[in-house]
């Protein structure tokens, strides 16, 4: 039998081995993904500091004569807040290091992608990354670094400083890419990003030297997101258990360190007292004692033991509800249970300390948008007592609680303040500028939640005008990122394709565009590559409602348009046929002169169509 060895791998190594999961499967895809990661980081940084973004992207071939795939220098520069010099090496030289771990909407999560791009560049070209950062409007720091993959640590090759006057960040990597294949997607990406980020100015200089410039369309930034507490619909049993653990108190282990702590809090460093005296002293100072100390004092009182005695046993359970303490006696190797005297003054103290908050307090303190009235109504609905201590709840009760949290309908909708939708006006302006349509309408749905994560759907529809009549086209965005790959399996496409467009007077290959933007603290992507959104029922419902609303608006426009077309058609028909009828009837009736039919042509074109 061969001997197996077990070894831990670093996050860098893990991602190196699984790089195709993160969108680095080939030179084409990798170039595109790298562009995305850096541009998104730059936009996120500007959003966070409320700076109107100015993004410069450039891709240059190292040797233009070579054929693809070849080495490219990719540089992304922004006017964001920059990164303090001391954080730069870790931020760009360590996998899973980032500032985006809170519960709020951002384009990227965890800062994973940018480091992946750097890692990919290093693997394919063995060239370092160059980061220039200015965070204080005075000094710009330039780092040239490599990643130590095994140790998940940055290796700084060069660090220089220069004077500067503006904040900002510039990242430049050398990587193997295939621009001839990735080019169209990258150009689409940049142009579509400008559509969903109308407050940004973007410039893209491609390897052929061509420059694409997208000026700012709106000058106001959408309100930034804030970090928030979870919504009750968005938690499961495991999440509740974790939240309770934060709230209620673990039985402290009694070791020398703990004994020292107790002595210190009671002011007993110098002298030693009998257990009885110690308890009396504790009573007097109770309000100043920390929670673990209170717990241990109360236990000593009920078990009637000193420190030595406490160290010979292990407390297994403090069941306040049943007034029982269960412990394991190491000396006797057996389990004991004793009654707690509910008359004792320690009982209440222990109960409060051990069991944590009441259910009512837990609900109002730990969840967003739950007030005492709603909390009480909920308790009634869940058939749980509001004064019930959450620490004393049984497994079954926790399951019931989690279940009821999902089913209770009277919670307010999730707080969308952690989300940053673009807003109807900027979206509408972006669409008008981008497509120059004959008709456009946008709508932002109210916030909703799936599995505890709030989300907002924004959607726009545009018809005619500058849009080519080549059939329905869908522009998908998630957290202000254009989604360009894997269109077929996306939930938005599914919803759009399920629509019976003929009901909305849309036929054939219409000049029709749908812009869909999903904002969430966590977009339910199907893959790590972040290109297609999974079909969660809550999300499907919101998308469908938004689309139906917009389609109805379009139908109104179409029937107005249709009525105008119809009137024109009528006028043409009467102008064509009435003179013919006149001619035939004149000969048929044997008359010489034609009748005066002019008025009839006019009347014909004015008749309201009877249906």
């Amino acid at each position: 039998m061969s001997k197996e060895t077990f070894s831990q791998i670093s996050p860098s190594e893990f991602f190196y081995r699984n790089r195709d999961l993160a969108g680095f499967s080939n030179p084409t895809r990798s170039l595109y993904t790298s562009v995305r990661e850096f541009v998104e980081n730059a936009l996120d940084a500007c959003d966070q500091k409320k700076v109107l973004p100015d993004i410069h992207l450039s891709i240059k071939a190292v040797d233009p004569e070579q054929s693809d795939p070849k080495h490219y220098v990719l540089t992304v520069k922004d006017n964001g807040p920059g990164i303090e010099p001391k954080h730069v090496p870790h931020a760009f030289g360590t996998v899973l290091y980032g500032s985006k771990f809170g519960l709020k909407q951002a384009r990227g999560m965890f800062g994973l992608g940018a480091t992946m791009a750097i890692l990919y560049g290093q693997i394919t070209t063995n060239k370092p990354v160059t980061v220039k950062s200015c965070a204080d409007e005075k000094v710009i720091d330039e780092f040239v670094m490599l990643l130590d993959i095994q140790k998940n640590k940055p290796v700084i090759l060069k660090h220089t400083t220069k004077d500067a006057s503006k904040t900002g960040l510039s990242v430049s990597i050398v990587l193997e890419g295939d621009y001839s294949k990735a080019g169209s997607k990258i150009r689409d990406y940049v142009s579509q990003t400008s559509l969903i980020t109308p407050y940004a100015s973007m410039t893209f200089e491609d390897p052929t030297g061509e420059k694409f410039h997208y000026p700012r369309i709106v000058k106001e930034m959408p309100p930034p997101p804030t970090i928030i507490k979870p919504h009750p619909h968005g938690v499961d049993v495991e999440t509740i258990r974790r939240m309770i653990v934060d709230t209620h108190y673990q039985i402290p282990a009694v070791d020398n360190k703990m004994i020292e702590k107790i002595k210190k809090e009671l002011g007993l460093q110098k002298k030693s007292l009998t257990t009885k005296d110690m308890l009396e002293r504790a009573q007097k100072r109770w309000a100043d004692l920390s929670r673990p100390v209170r717990t241990i004092i109360a236990l000593m009182s009920f078990l009637n033991v000193d420190f030595d005695g406490l160290q010979k046993i292990r407390i297994d359970d403090i069941d306040v509800a049943n007034k029982k303490i269960t412990y394991w006696d190491f000396g006797e190797s057996q389990s004991h249970a004793i009654e707690i005297d509910s008359e004792s003054s320690y009982y209440k103290q222990l109960a409060n300390t051990i069991q944590g908050d009441t259910l009512l307090t837990f609900l109002t303190k730990r969840f967003q948008r739950v007030g005492p009235t709603t909390a009480e109504k909920f308790c009634e609905f869940a058939k749980l007592k509001p004064e019930r201590r959450i620490g004393s709840m049984t497994n079954e009760e926790l399951v019931r609680l989690a279940d009821a949290l999902q089913k209770f309908d009277d919670f307010l909708a999730p707080d969308p303040s952690c989300l940053a939708p673009l807003g109807e006006e900027p979206l509408s302006k972006g669409i008008m500028k981008f497509f120059n349509p004959e008709f456009a309408s946008v709508m932002q749905r109210n916030a909703s939640a799936y599995s505890g994560f709030p989300f907002v759907v924004e959607m726009g529809i545009a018809y005619g005008g500058g849009i080519p009549a080549t059939g329905l086209k869908v522009y998908r965005f998630a957290n202000r990122i254009p989604l360009l790959y894997d269109e077929g399996s996306d939930v938005v496409l599914k919803i759009v394709n399920e629509m019976d467009w003929s009901r909305y007077k849309v036929k054939g290959d219409p000049p029709l565009v749908i812009v869909s933007h999903i904002c969430s603290t966590r977009i339910p992507y199907k893959t790590v590559g972040k290109e297609n959104v999974a079909d969660r029922p809550e999300l499907e419902r919101e998308l469908k409602n938004a689309l139906q609303y917009l389609a109805r608006k379009l139908a109104v426009h179409m029937s107005r348009q249709g009525a105008a077309d119809m009137e024109k058609k009528r006028a043409n028909l009467y102008a064509k046929y009435v003179p013919l009828i006149s001619q035939f009837s004149t000969e048929l009736s044997g008359k010489k002169k034609e009748p005066n039919y002019k008025q009839l042509i006019k009347m014909g074109s004015e008749i309201e169509e009877q249906i």
Binding site: Y577, L580, L588, S589
Partner: protein
């Protein structure tokens, strides 16, 4: 004497039609002049409005009618087409010119009347028939001919340029096309005592070769499948004007039976017209019972054959007597026989054996 009166009837019919057309023309003219939308009222030819008249022994239209108005945008085009046709027919009849269904379709283009296809123009012709209650032959519009006649029958043309010219229909062995000239000709004289209508051109030629016209003193008519209206009209005139009995020979299947029925009592398609039926015509065969009786070679029926039997069983004319019985036997056999099946017993078997036998038998029904 008789010819004179016929001529007068034809002339009267023409005058009646022309004055009717002029009346319609005036009506349209006045409407236009007064700023009103003119309209036609057309007897409805929908299935619900076609009923079987037992007294007339044919299908007729009920009382329902439809309005075709120039006010309705979706009818404006077909209204104009109908007005054009009235105008065009007026010219045809006044000037004594003839036209065909296909010719009408092409003529329309000269007047910016765009028919999508010939069925559309054919349909407008039927509309005008219904509006004027006159057959298209009176409009001087005829189908492309395919049906012919042979036998000792003298006719006298009435068409312009041939007025008074006479002709005997046994002079040319291929037979004579039943076209506009023949249809409008007077039937002057005949030695025949019988008219035999036969479904197929091949057997028509055989009958001429075998001198059936002499052996049975008959006029032979090739219906070329379902008999066209001009042929049905000729058969009626031979029966009514010359007093000749009409017998029909068709294939031994459900379609053959119905060819005989349409000659006898008309079709639903022509329910708006009269004088196309020969109520006393007799269906000689081939009956379903003949298939067994004469041990004819058969082929199996198709599904559409069988469906057709079920359809006809709902028709009021097939509710009794031999018509009903033969349908039932066909349905039981689920096999059919062509007229040519008799060739199995020799090429002349049908004229030598079958025809005389059936004629003898027909005296009893």
């Amino acid at each position: 004497m008789k010819n004179k009166s016929n001529q007068r009837t034809a002339e009267a019919k023409k005058e009646k039609l022309l004055s009717l057309l002029q009346k319609h023309g005036l009506n349209i003219y006045d409407n236009l002049d007064q700023g009103k939308f003119p309209q036609f009222i057309i007897p409805s030819r929908s299935v619900n409005n076609i009923v079987y008249d037992k007294k007339l022994r044919q299908y007729i239209l009920g009382n329902a009618s439809a309005v075709r108005s120039s006010r309705n945008m979706s009818q404006l085009r077909s209204y104009t087409q109908l007005a054009w046709l009235a105008f065009f027919v007026n010219r045809l009849v006044r000037e004594g010119k003839s036209s065909t269904l296909r010719d009408i379709y092409y003529s329309s283009q000269a007047f910016s009347i765009d028919f999508e296809d010939q069925p559309e123009s054919d349909n407008i012709i039927v509309d005008l028939e219904a509006v004027t209650l006159s057959p298209r032959e009176e409009f001087h519009i005829f189908p492309e001919e395919r049906s012919s006649v042979f036998g000792d029958l003298t006719i006298e043309y009435t068409v312009p340029g041939y007025e008074g010219k006479r002709m005997n229909l046994s002079d040319h062995p291929d037979g004579y096309l039943i076209g506009p000239s023949l249809s409008s000709a007077e039937l002057v004289d005949t030695s025949a005592e019988l008219v035999i209508a036969i479904e197929k051109g091949g057997l028509f030629t055989r009958f001429v070769e075998e001198k059936v016209h002499k052996k049975f003193k008959s006029i032979i008519v090739d219906t070329a499948g379902q008999a066209p209206r001009s042929t049905r009209n000729l058969l009626r005139r031979l029966n009514q004007e010359l007093g000749l009995p009409v017998v029909i020979l068709a294939d031994g299947d459900v379609y053959g039976e119905h060819i005989a029925m349409v000659i006898k009592s008309g079709s639903a398609n022509a329910a708006h017209l009269r004088e196309l039926t020969v109520p006393d015509a007799k269906w000689l065969g081939v009956w379903a019972t003949d298939i067994e009786k004469y041990k004819l070679p058969t082929i199996p029926m198709t599904e559409s054959d069988i469906k057709r039997i079920y359809d006809l069983q709902k028709d009021p004319r097939y509710q009794e007597g031999n018509w009903k019985k033969q349908l039932e036997v066909f349905l039981k056999l689920k096999r059919k026989a062509e007229l040519e099946a008799f060739s199995k017993y020799g090429l002349t078997n049908i004229t030598d054996k079958y025809l005389p036998a059936k004629l003898e038998e027909s005296k009893s029904f």
